[in-house]
Symmetry: C2
């Protein structure tokens, strides 16, 4: 899922340029009054029938199951990743997609190994922890040191190096449960940036409270980023119950010593692939509406919600559109991206390989926030696009919440398309419970509700169809707003 999902308000504050351009969103700031687009009645009727057919029961869940059961965990470059590519190709071919192919991508490879931890004193207790993605291993035998607990990254930055040197920094940052997932963006810098910020103070290792909203004894992994100017120290996430144990022990007073050992590490880059299939447009086959999701997953669970669900939504939305006769005006292209989780190599490779035709990509949609229920879309496009998006929101209003909000990127995978100005839409889903499971061993098929997934698929398909069929296209992202978020 998007690694930098932020609270909408904060997000807007960080986008003075967009705000100046009039990209204030519905419900978040004073709405700009725009006349709703009047969709041709034929398009409206077809879209409604498509929507209702999918919502009544689709095969989206079947595609998720096929990928999840055949491939299991599919960290970029792993055997599961390759199995997922095979499974996705088989699905697209069996369902009659055109131009089905695997587009090669070299991906960074990182492997988890042994990961154990324990409180050494004042009591002896095992700790449930997992290496953060990309972490260096500990020295053999692990590291043992006193912990220094902080509640936030900001609190860490205020510590003196003398308090941290040789210690294990423990960031006990709590993540808030929200329906839009904004608690994730607020909390996740502890995971992505914590190691380097602790290392600059001389810390020997980093432990964080899992970035998650649950109380299961299952830690949440996810990528960290090592800054170039800091030593690369090993870093792991504790399950929430274990983080709370550490905090209770700290509060009893006196030093708390912890040992942990990780044998994970980087391996040479390896080949993987994004999987692509198309529903060729009847009139403008070279104009493309891209439907994206990512095929890779973290390695602890089987990636059913992140992002098997998105793959199921994208495949099924396109499959249902393919069943329309005639096909819509433009081509629907499903892209199941390689390596979203640990490098975004699939998204970047796609933008590079398809550079010549990006000007003919009229929209890119992504599904990467679980199975639903659907709320609507986040979007980034020229201001006049709002009218069409309102029309789409009107069509899907009974299934979704009709939410439309301005975003910087509709999804991580499609974010490399922003510099080309391609209007991007992210399917927004209710993420209230998504972060209970996200990046844990608990991300398994049984967590997906097929009927909810159908609703989300119906909303996604409706938007895709309208964007592929209506004569006009969305205004592209203004030049000034095409700067990409730094990684």
């Amino acid at each position: 899922m998007p690694r930098l999902l932020r609270s909408p308000i904060k997000h807007l504050r960080r986008l003075p340029l967009l705000a100046a351009l009039g990209l204030a969103s519905f419900g978040l700031a004073a709405p700009k009054v725009v006349e709703p687009a009047r969709l041709p009645s034929e398009i409206r009727r077809t879209a409604e029938a498509l929507r209702d057919r999918i919502a009544a029961g689709s095969k989206a869940y079947d595609w998720v199951r096929e990928i999840v059961d055949r491939a299991g965990p599919r960290l970029a470059g792993s055997p599961g990743d390759h199995a997922a590519v095979e499974a996705a190709l088989a699905i697209l071919k069996s369902q009659g997609f055109a131009n089905v192919r695997a587009e090669p991508v070299m991906v960074p490879v990182w492997q988890r190994g042994i990961e154990v931890g324990e409180v050494v004193s004042p009591v002896s207790q095992r700790l449930a922890l997992t290496a953060l993605g990309g972490s260096e291993p500990t020295p053999a035998g692990g590291i043992e040191a006193e912990i220094v607990r902080v509640s936030t990254l900001e609190e860490l930055d205020q510590l003196d190096a003398s308090a941290c040197r040789g210690k294990i920094v423990f960031i006990d940052r709590r993540m808030a449960r929200t329906s839009d997932g904004s608690g994730y963006g607020d909390a996740v810098p502890a995971r992505s940036d914590g190691a380097s910020r602790a290392a600059r103070l001389g810390a020997a290792g980093l432990l964080i409270r899992s970035i998650g909203t649950d109380r299961a004894r299952l830690p949440h992994t996810g990528a960290l980023t090592y800054a170039k100017d800091a030593p690369r120290i090993p870093a792991a996430a504790l399950s929430v119950p274990d983080a709370e144990l550490l905090t209770r022990l700290v509060r009893r007073g006196g030093p708390v010593r912890v040992r942990f050992e990780l044998t994970c590490g980087r391996k040479p880059d390896a080949p993987s692939a994004s999987v692509v299939g198309e529903v060729v447009g009847r009139e403008k086959p070279d104009e493309i509406v891209l439907l994206g999701a990512h095929l890779d997953s973290w390695d602890l669970g089987t990636g059913a919600i992140d992002d098997g669900a998105g793959c199921g939504i994208a495949i099924e939305a396109a499959r249902q559109i393919a069943a329309l006769s005639p096909h819509p005006r433009r081509t629907i292209r499903v892209v199941l991206y390689a390596n979203e989780e640990s490098g975004l190599a699939g998204g970047k490779a796609y933008a590079k390989a398809h550079a010549p035709e990006l000007a003919r990509h009229v929209a890119a949609l992504e599904a990467d926030l679980g199975d639903g229920p659907p709320l609507g879309f986040s979007w980034n496009a020229g201001p006049s696009a709002e009218a069409m998006l309102k029309a789409i929101a009107g069509l899907t209003g009974a299934l979704a919440a009709g939410q439309l909000k301005v975003t910087k990127s509709g999804g991580a995978d499609i974010s490399p398309l922003i510099p080309s100005g391609i209007p991007s839409l992210g399917l927004t889903l209710d993420a209230s419970t998504y972060f209970d499971l996200h990046h844990t061993a608990n991300d398994t098929l049984d967590k997906i509700d097929p009927a909810t997934l159908d609703r989300s698929t119906a909303v996604f398909a409706t938007a895709a169809y309208v964007l592929a069929e209506t004569p006009e296209t969305l205004e592209r992202i203004p030049e000034a707003a095409r700067a990409q978020e730094a990684e």
Copy 2:
């Protein structure tokens, strides 16, 4: 917790003798009309004040935390078990209990080791599994075989040996969620008896769906019993999501091969101890009301709900009664039993060591079903006891559901007291979510709600006080109903 908790209806069916004796319970069969006991008003007022004081906020949670944080997992004979004995002794001494002591018990020792599993074909996937308590190890390198899936033990019994020989039997028995925990008694024979019943058919190993009501990727352990007439094959529980994966793979058709390896095993018996402390009675100090819970736990979690919560309830109930001036007529004896989970050695040792004074035990109460909310009591005593129990239920009705039901045993730890006719009461708690966590790594302190635990403690303390104070005592269990359940 009681290993043989059964649905009340079934239970009654199995108790023709008790039924013949008129032990039908309120709400479960036609109630026998009994005049409610008229408690002396002084006793009633003191009991009400005690109840209300505890319900308004007690230290029960503090005692659970102290045991859980200091000892962590405390499987019989393990270092954590010894730490728990020390922690419990320290609590009882610090709180001014009389005659605080550790009563030595030799306990069976079993150690978990490496436990790994995977689907080998038709796909390659890891399986989250855990050895059942008492399981033999697999041969080095594990066992790999095709699985034979059944939904129930009964279905297994109908298979021909030719279908099972050399295979891994997989019992996919689902457990129902119920408020009284009866789903556990219905499902648990798959865990306790499955290995021997599969072994008699020539199976090489057993896998079961965890006996639990959750969907977490955390398997539930618990004791198995090897029959004397069957080979001792290794046995493990899959987490529910993993069991469902196996079932989906079986339903795809074709053989499903699994490999698993366990390095667990039995070790020589070791010393442990039950921890005892008393509130000495003012008038009949040699008459005893026993408050029981068990100090040991399974090794995956930290035993907060099973049975740290019961220990907290028993300790705090007695501590609050000790604060009464004067003390009640009889002695309140807290017994925190060793080794409930894997042998009941603590309960048996207590009955043996205290045989001379069992005739003066007027009641034994146990708390071993989590933190609550409280529903009432299950009971086993002579029929005339019902009047007093109704009076107690009346006193606690606003906090609990006033439930009174006939049982065979008020709890596993106190079940060895039944042959002596000691009236036994089990604190019945709403177990709707208890089996989401039971015997898993997820049984940690954060799952306990302090206010709920206070309510349960208030109910337990009220009963204990009334039974220790009222001049009359409960009618003892009739001779004919003292036969113990076979282990």
